[in-house]
Amino acid sequence: MTETATTTTTTTHLMTINMGPQHPSTHGVLRLLLELDGEMIVKAVPHVGFLHRGVEKLAEYRTYHQCIPLTDRLDYVAPFSNNLAYALAVEKLLGVQAPERAHHIRVLLCELTRIASHLLWLATHALDIGAMSVFFYCFREREEIYDIFEMVSGARMHLSYIRVGGISRDLPGGFLEKTHAFVTGFPARLDEYETLLTDNPIWKKRTVGVGVISAEDAIDYGLSGPSLRGSGVNWDIRKSEPYSSYDKYNFSVPLGKNGDVYDRYRVRMEEMRQSNSIVHQALNILPRGDFLARIPNVTLPPKEDVETNMESMIGHFKLIMHGIHPPEGEVYSSIEAPKGELGFYIVSDGSSNPYRLKIRPPSFVNLEALPKMVEGRLLPDVVATIGSLDIVLGEIDR
């Protein structure tokens, strides 16, 4: 390393500094080992794993339904997406489908989640770069979404609302009005954020041309989600392999051009507008009907039946005590989570626990490309670039 450094740099004095794991702009417990020549990054080595809880190991000792709360704790700012990705994988393994109403509710809540996740990204990203007021605005709106989540599931962060075969309970009264009020007011709020940042010369100086990655490199490094689309690659799983009922919604996939921090910012801002429009459409077309499919040995029977009908009571008992027994086989199913391709690979041996559960977390893969984006750039660019990748250590370390 020293040899290459002496040829490319002006001084032979390289300084190694440790950024994180307790550093506010590393968005959790990310540790970066930076080799610096003055302010220039010669080498960046990410160290992860500080939050490793062995989720994949734990899942092997739980029934299929008991794994749902584990998924909340992956990308903890987008729990609905995690729940959905897992539920879809198990449904694929079982060969079952959720009812129509559940599909639309899932889409509605996942898009609200995308907005909440992107708001947290924008808030912290802007804060890292020095625009503090954006943080307060974003948290004001995020709070409204969290109130909606609390109304729906009873929890604010770890929701575990989605079930295999549907959702745990129907939407509460007052939900539609509250959500409608939010989506009506939100586009104006987004415009407000943009007045603070989009044409702000300081913001542009810190983001345009920073953390650049080309489309070819982005694909090679396995980037997905807004981080990939910032480089102009048109890939969104909601469009390419529509799940739930995304094929019934009308939305566009915003793309960047230069693959820099600024383009990733523009992509996410536009994504929030698109998500807002999807939520709006979902409110209008939300069909009536069951929210949980009635599949014996997979979904719990309705509570009234359990109290009045012997068969249902036995079914309920057996499902709680022994869990679901999917057929032997393996599936990989992925969704477009706010951060990219979130995939679940489940291997079943026919028992009530997954034989193997592998999570493909988008943040883990996106972070891998960080050294490529920052090497040869200045130290402050590292902060801007980490922010633009929108990582969550909960899903990186699992």
Partner: protein
């Protein structure tokens, strides 16, 4: 996207190296001989009709109890053709090693490090094969089936944690 032609194309090109294939829930799985993985991976990426330019995931599965092997599983995707495939390689449990695919997809780097960390499967030719999720002095491979759920670490590591030096 129809997956049958994909399967046929690979089998025609590598009749020897594909030892099995099956389709479950419309997902194609090919079982590949250990020595051929790099050739097949390169073919899958470079062939224009297949065009698997995106490595979605790479992981291990412990099959020691039944077949005395570890499986290394590759999930590939083609951005242009919008199709997926799963490749599997069986590596013997007494000598778990195979060639790296980092030369074909850069993203394989961290995935292979994770598989090494969790299963102790060595990837020959990997540029920087280190543990990634567990601490440096962690002993054992936690996702192997013989590793107990509540862990087993030497006292030295526990002492290190207690003193806060890790």
């Amino acid at each position: 996207m129809d997956i049958e032609p994909v399967s046929t194309a690979i089998k025609t090109r590598f009749p020897e190296a594909i030892t099995g294939s099956h389709i479950f829930r419309n997902e194609l799985t090919l079982i590949v001989k250990k020595d051929s993985i790099v050739d097949i991976a390169r073919f899958l990426k470079e062939d224009e009709a297949l065009d698997f330019d995106f490595l979605s995931d790479l992981c291990g599965v412990d099959r020691v109890a039944t077949d005395n092997v570890f499986e290394v599983v590759y999930h590939l995707y083609s951005l242009k053709k919008n199709h997926r495939i799963r490749l599997k390689v069986h590596v013997p449990s007494d000598d778990p090693c195979l060639s790296t695919v980092t030369g074909i997809w850069k993203t394989a780097d961290w995935h292979e490090r994770e598989t090494y960390d969790m299963f102790g499967i060595a990837f020959e030719g990997h540029p920087d094969l280190r543990k990634i999720l567990t601490p440096e002095d962690f002993e054992g491979y936690p996702l192997r089936k013989d590793y107990p759920l509540d862990g087993r670490q030497p006292t030295t590591l526990r002492d290190t944690y207690r003193k806060g030096e890790a």
